[in-house]
Amino acid sequence: MILVMGPVDELLTAFFLKHLTDTKREYLFVDERHLGSEVRLELDLPQGPSGPGRLRGAVRFPTWRVGLEEISGIYSRLGTGNVEQQRTPEVRAEQAHAAALLDLFPGPVANRATAMLSNGSKPCQYAAILAAGLRVPDTLVGSTWERWEPFAKALDGDPVIKSVSDERSLVKQVSWEATRASARPGQPLAPHQFQQRIQGTNIRAHVVGARHVLACRAETQALDYRHPDLTGHTVNLCATELPEPVAEACRRLSRALGVDLAGIDLIEPPGGSSRPEDWVCLEVNTCPGFMWFEQHAGLPIARVLADFLSTSLGS
């Protein structure tokens, strides 16, 4: 069975649970709010050869328990949905045990706690993206006027500004002059990520198990296709097939980052290309909200993910 952990009222958690129910899959759900009160995790890792079967334990409820050997895969939305919860020592302990379970569970996990961290700094991902064979935008990360001015002036057009971290930010296009004018006298520039604006079509590729690639094209005039309404634009999402070398680069990237569910933001060059080095990767979302893409582009992401998490070890 699939273990799902997250807040019951979080959109994607609810969406995936509904899919599992509708398709009559066997699953076990742990509401994040119950960790440390009604649900406890019991994990035991004795000395012995590495491999499946070494991690033992159970998910314990007040009157029953489910052994880890009954679980085929785990889907986690822990930490999403802005859950307000009293962080008692018991709650904090069980959250830590849940993170440990995600890292140590021998079967498929979307996603392991540690593997999700790469999204905390976009340039860190760029090292992995380049190694996978895709391009990244010319980028400057820092808080220095001295570097920012020559970088901005060398670009073709005004640069795009966005957060360095995974903090949600509205992507904007800014001019050097406007940014300089908005600075507070005597204050250093706050850290920012400046990069060239890339011409082409936005593509979101969801990669499941570093194997299945489900891509969709976002057709819009907006700079940030996730928020087209803020600039008075619309967006049209439709399923698409990536050229196989590009799909393979996405698989390599997912594997390198250790994520079993990746949301890879790509830009297809104008006129198209099957060469990965012509495609720009903006970032890899390690906790992707795939519901919007599934609903609007008809991609069967939940089904493919459920299939993957149902796959027992070794099969």
Partner: protein
Amino acid sequence: MQNPACMPHLVLVGPESFPFVRDVLRAEAWRAGLRVVEVSMRDWGSSVTPWVEVVGGRFRAGLLGPWGDLELRPEDVFWCIAEGPLPPAESDYLDSEHEALREAFHTCCPARVINRRGLLQPLWTTAMWRMLAQKLPSPETDSVLAPPHFHLGAPPEDGQRWTRWPEEAETSMGQVWWTVPEPGPLRQALVVGSHVTLWPLEFEEEPPTLPLALERDLTRLATACGADVLEVLLVPSGTPDASARWTAIQLGTSPEGLERLLAQEETVALAQVERFLRERLASQEDAR
């Protein structure tokens, strides 16, 4: 004599916590013709801030400090020996941005880096007990190095002596317990590059010898962790029929044990670190 402006740099962050290690680094840098730049933990992230640039798929990175803008190139060497939390920013958002900038520098800096940090490096993202659980024993059947028996939750009442994993208790409140069957005397292994030494931490009549199989497993462990300098606390242990004969009970990335040995004028440890630094400061293999 080389023009100092053209000399490659050895940039050290947080060396003030390890004065004996710092002395060796300074001496070896001078010998190799590298100019030493030292950034204190207090200055790292406040008066000295990093930048990272990628143009045409090529990374550049540097540090802005009182000296101006110091770009680090593949011929330079960087070792962040110790770093603390960044000074608080005006908002949580800016805190995250400063942290992300520092992580970006650690990951993407094109210099030769000793113990590279960053979000792609497991030693800096994973709790140490989980590193032991994940990396040991190595899948090879001849492994002699194992992690302790770990248990999460209330400690089992099985008559064994269970000890709480201290860092986890301090940071996440996780209840992580460990035990080792029949532990022998506590020892410390120092893995520096491809060289390993073993040191007693309790009184022992004879200095411990380093079995070849243990040396091989410790080198494998450091490689699996992506570490150039790794300190491993370990005990000989286990029942006679167990295949693993050593248990690693802690990993350390800051050179505390090395500092102690250098302070005690242990010539073997000094020779070990000098040999590593001579190889590392002369080679350009690790440059990105």
